[in-house]
Symmetry: D2
Subunit: 456 residues, 4 copies
Amino acid sequence: MRLMESLATTETLAGIFSDESVLRAMLDFEIALARVQARLKIIPRAAARAIENAAQPDSFNPAVLAHAAQRAGTPAIPLVKALRESVQKEDPSAAGFVHWGATSQDVCDTALVLLLARAQAALESDLERLQLALRRVATKHRRTVMLGRTLLQPAPPVTFGLKAAGWCAAVRRGHARLGAAMNQALVLQLGGASGTLAALEKRGAEAGAALAKELKLGYPDAPWHSHRDRLAGVLCACGILAGTLGKMARDITLLMQPEIGEVSEAQEPGRGGSSSMPQKQNPAGCVVTTAAVAQVPALVASFLGGMVQEQERAAGAWQAEWSIVSRVVQATGLAVTAMAEIMENLLVDVARMRANIEATRGMVFAERIMVALSPKIGRVHAERILAEAIALGRAQNKNLEDVLAQMDEVNDHLDARTLRDMESPEQYLGAAQEFQDRLLSQGGKQAARGRKRRKD
Amino acid sequence: MRLMESLATTETLAGIFSDESVLRAMLDFEIALARVQARLKIIPRAAARAIENAAQPDSFNPAVLAHAAQRAGTPAIPLVKALRESVQKEDPSAAGFVHWGATSQDVCDTALVLLLARAQAALESDLERLQLALRRVATKHRRTVMLGRTLLQPAPPVTFGLKAAGWCAAVRRGHARLGAAMNQALVLQLGGASGTLAALEKRGAEAGAALAKELKLGYPDAPWHSHRDRLAGVLCACGILAGTLGKMARDITLLMQPEIGEVSEAQEPGRGGSSSMPQKQNPAGCVVTTAAVAQVPALVASFLGGMVQEQERAAGAWQAEWSIVSRVVQATGLAVTAMAEIMENLLVDVARMRANIEATRGMVFAERIMVALSPKIGRVHAERILAEAIALGRAQNKNLEDVLAQMDEVNDHLDARTLRDMESPEQYLGAAQEFQDRLLSQGGKQAARGRKRRKD
Amino acid sequence: MRLMESLATTETLAGIFSDESVLRAMLDFEIALARVQARLKIIPRAAARAIENAAQPDSFNPAVLAHAAQRAGTPAIPLVKALRESVQKEDPSAAGFVHWGATSQDVCDTALVLLLARAQAALESDLERLQLALRRVATKHRRTVMLGRTLLQPAPPVTFGLKAAGWCAAVRRGHARLGAAMNQALVLQLGGASGTLAALEKRGAEAGAALAKELKLGYPDAPWHSHRDRLAGVLCACGILAGTLGKMARDITLLMQPEIGEVSEAQEPGRGGSSSMPQKQNPAGCVVTTAAVAQVPALVASFLGGMVQEQERAAGAWQAEWSIVSRVVQATGLAVTAMAEIMENLLVDVARMRANIEATRGMVFAERIMVALSPKIGRVHAERILAEAIALGRAQNKNLEDVLAQMDEVNDHLDARTLRDMESPEQYLGAAQEFQDRLLSQGGKQAARGRKRRKD
Amino acid sequence: MRLMESLATTETLAGIFSDESVLRAMLDFEIALARVQARLKIIPRAAARAIENAAQPDSFNPAVLAHAAQRAGTPAIPLVKALRESVQKEDPSAAGFVHWGATSQDVCDTALVLLLARAQAALESDLERLQLALRRVATKHRRTVMLGRTLLQPAPPVTFGLKAAGWCAAVRRGHARLGAAMNQALVLQLGGASGTLAALEKRGAEAGAALAKELKLGYPDAPWHSHRDRLAGVLCACGILAGTLGKMARDITLLMQPEIGEVSEAQEPGRGGSSSMPQKQNPAGCVVTTAAVAQVPALVASFLGGMVQEQERAAGAWQAEWSIVSRVVQATGLAVTAMAEIMENLLVDVARMRANIEATRGMVFAERIMVALSPKIGRVHAERILAEAIALGRAQNKNLEDVLAQMDEVNDHLDARTLRDMESPEQYLGAAQEFQDRLLSQGGKQAARGRKRRKD
């Protein structure tokens, strides 16, 4: 993880997209290709062995390859060349069988897919931690009332449980979308020069199917060298998930404002401090999440724009993908990890939540009183009376119920006791708990399935 | 359809997002809400009737509403106000029941969803036309050979059938993705002020379910006012589909260059001409497609970025959505329509396709000869010989086979006849037809199901 | 202004990009072209008169033209055709001289530039209102102290004057950037079929210069049909300005949270209310600004991506520009207008600003005390003591000064009086006023120049 | 340069944004801050010396810092901490004066600006090479005729000199824009905790000015911690320049299609080959340019969107900048470098350019003949005749002149000789050379100034 990218990846993901890991994935493709072709008697068994022996990441200098990749327009050309030279030294008769029937895009695309499979595993594990934490928070705070806030202004109360359940369900949907998109995208690319596998004569599809199996990837109906929609699906799923995580980070950042003070990231050494202000308790995890999320949408757009790829291989749009894909996945992964840690340790100030409702002096229940008054005195009249009462309450720092209790037109229909009850948050939660239960129930089933599957 | 937007929508879609249609959708929500609430005895039956009577699009001035919407920050506030005033005139006791228990976002979001459902129908029909046309083209040209082109340079041959089948399968996947995303997104939004439906007391979820049914929408687990991932899914699906259509338009634009001349959009009056050049046969449909597609990715990014919505209702990001969503859908729809028309009338010059292969003088078969020579004389040696022969052929305008036939090192292993055969495009198609069949088979099943479903 | 776009434009700008106005601009180009060519004796004087007579917007049906534009791939072809037919009826010999030597892109690009010039005037006037209002706010609140807030957590105090001056200077820089970019971009496009004006033989540049003068546009070194950097400059300037306005809207939205309550948009009928919550005082103007701003960056990216235009005229990227450019300018303009209105009427609660500082119980002055203690007892020691004191203060709801005054290690160096003084906001403003003066001085000069220039 | 980023940076720029270089820039800030404060007697001279001694990049472990940066939400906090500890070991009394009066953003922003200054120098040098090469190409091919191509269809001829001059002027404008934006942006950030430099009491602006001078940066009117428009200007300038370079790469890629074959990148070992196709002469440099350019617009949009930064320091948007800025600059720089190399070695096939004009069999001169015929027989009539002649010529593979010469209606007005002359490209270049001269003249003056300035 480099300094310039310290808010754009995680150590795990930086490792997955590191030179060593990229080399490993490319060489895994070449090894598996040779192995499968030997098994199918397309190339000699000895050649496959020689290739496998030579294809060790340590034998290659990534800096030299990167330099050559920039000249060649793809890392595949210098890597294949270096591999061939290496095989040549050991077994000259085998060198010609390196990369047999394949083309640059085959090794680059398949290597990317192999890296994505590893990245998915990393993301999955944090996504599960995150959902578990959210489910726990939601359950714990099923009855914790807090202000609803719309356009950042107070609105009738919600529960913190409902809010957390909403986050949880959105993460669950995002997780499911990512899983589905990955399932579609984790397929072999093997097309040869033009996508017909002509160099393998009639055995192209057979070799492809065997190679996919060897690499534990799906085998698509045809090579996808110039149709990038499956990868686009993965990036879009990352983009949507990142959007959800960004929303959560924003919510928490706002709730952490000391003037609101309802929740807080756990503070610990090296986290949340400032280089100049000793008193600071910064939303460091949310900041990291927000910074990571901010980079994703535009990169998704880059990828979508780059889907316009010419004929059987694009002149530029394809070559831009590695950088874009790896950045989207890394930034999304960072947001997942940061948010999982936040949610596992979130501090909730239940008293402050209630206090903030009370601080509105009943004003957020104006809708409720309006609804109660309207049928009795007409909407227009009710609106006028409430507007007056609210203005008066604000001017005199009085509770809305107290102002209303003084107004005859109200008194005739709602007594002081009723008015006071109308300003009880617990009495004005509507379907909050029903919605929370619905939001979590589906996830529960999925989580159970998820756990089961893993045991297999 | 306005001049400024004539390359950004279709007449059908412009109609769906027109003032009249938007008003209609918003009023449909208010009517259905009242009707359902009357049925559930939440509001009086007479009030619902009065609301239904008043809620006629013709009674409202969209320009006035748009002006007021800009001041209010949402079109819902002025519309509800105007509807209430209108009901008030007819039945004062009913006016208070307009929009009962609902909030601005409920009517805006649900109206948008209703418009999306209509737009989907429009897109679906063109998507089916397009796939039918592509299937026909692919089948007809199953054996039509043409140059593969990678990085816009000649590569071993493909078939035009395979290319069209690749387009077709990508459109099919895009269609399926859009359908799935729409299925998820076409759900009611009804949450009231804070998303708890508190004003409906314990009957919120019941009313919601009934309203969803009334409007023929799905009923989600909870209101989705500040979780926009389902809509994001629709936009991403549009973005991916647009990318595929853009690729097709680029392919055809390139093949239509007279220096290549392999396919052509049908020319007809008002299409493909120039305001200054009488000889012009422009790829007008592809230009329209490309222009439409170019607008989509960034708008998708805007939406993804806008998913960071604060608490129970965002202060800005939500309000930006109408414009973004309607533009994405319209631009994508234009691309689908334009491409369907292109493919239904595409002119294919089979002879020119073959001539362009021959014009490479066998050079695109160099890979094949390399593959044949390598096992006999070693890869390094074969590479050197081919490089020499290619240079010589280029310098002397000779066919690769003729140059090679003069070289002893080749002669010893491949005779002139074999070399000539190696440069037959039909003999070097590998798995092209197998891949084509696989690409189309799945679509065939789907198309069949599609047709069946429609009959029901 | 349509409902779907009511948060994406202003009435003025919607008018500038309306069908009528677009037609007017295109016809202005054709009229001026004919007039200038007649003057230069390139076409007959009578032809120019006939063209001028026929080129009345009312004579054309924009809906029909838009429909035809979608088929032709550009509005120019149907418009020129319709104009020619119209002239033909009046003076057949003149019809051939319509659009003489020009091509579609000439009329489309120049019309767009003419519309931009009108839009610029609209934006300028609101930009000046906005800067005037900001300057007034800044001057009035030069000594008004308020919390600094970093990462949305309290930081040492700033003045509201400094904050407003920072906004003002950023708007001024944005204004200057937009002006400079417009100056570069408001140039004629006249290149003919391929950009050489070949149909005008040796008189192309002469005709171009005259036409530019006639249309009050600059005349560039050469036609810019496929180099779009000048327009890109305008869009980028809009993008940067929008970013600044978005920052201002976000700041105000946050300060308007009732828990903070330091500033407020003026509330008035139809603005800031809610369709369900009578107590609501929403940041409606900020919401509109934020919604408008949210649409701009991605559209700028679309334009930048679309600069990759092929050869002498692009097949798609150019055709996408009208929609993109008009949306960027309209959204930016809406943000300017909304923000000008907000700033002209902003309510500032000076007492609340001070109260919010006090509510931190001196914690935001921890840096100051640290700076004072460090040289005396060493940084490490000072840090430890402050950390303790802050924790204690928080736990016991005590002021930092009071806690510190009890600690011997502090007492030895800073007495209670000194500590109390250290928590006076006015005493800890550093260079705030100096910075404010510097920020405003430059604007003052510019504003003066601006006023002068206008008098000329 | 890593494999994943080998098409997203250059070795020079990767070096500038490497860990070592980033550390160097951050430490340079801390050293200069201490030195200047010592000079102004704000801190002891000995402290400054101790800080300078300790601030050696080798003493810090970037991987450890990056890890801590991710926890802290900024690299500044761990770096300052590590530096303080390092100073503490050497001179405990000095440790407290590390980073005196500054905050995290001061060191991060100023370090970024220092890196940008270095990057600018790298870009400048390649931009000058590129313009020199373009000027040479343009001058050499001032009379080289080639097809104009609009919508990728043949249009009347242009000169290759004009095309190259157009590229050159656009690069020059881009260069100027970047220079101006850099001039604005290369300014110190020093604001302390809230941007008032309160910890420096009344000496903040004085210290700031001195520090700016020490670091050879401009000193702005005030700290710009939450107004990011100057940086946005740099990114936009990169975005516009990248667009121009992308257009050039697309043009060359298209002209390199063998079916067109008018220009070619120089081929050399390791460049332009394929891993499977021996005959390939790929546009490798254009591919690299296109891939680099493709990444820029969206990142610019990310930055613009991120300008919405809260109050005195943003909670996320600011922290996302390093990654975005460094990527934009690196990708743009790669495009400049790649394009400079292409243009310095571009192969031009003048004969093929002429042959491609001739291959249109005079059709591209149809406009010219129309212009000549119209005044004689009327536009409508002329249009009809030309349409007929073009259709006939296409059907019979005849030259347009030959078909027309057979038509009585033409014969009466234009004889065979005149018609033949009308199809001479050299006779139909209009203002091509005048435009070329205008395009290059300004650059010449600038280039001369540029050279002079450098000598000083």
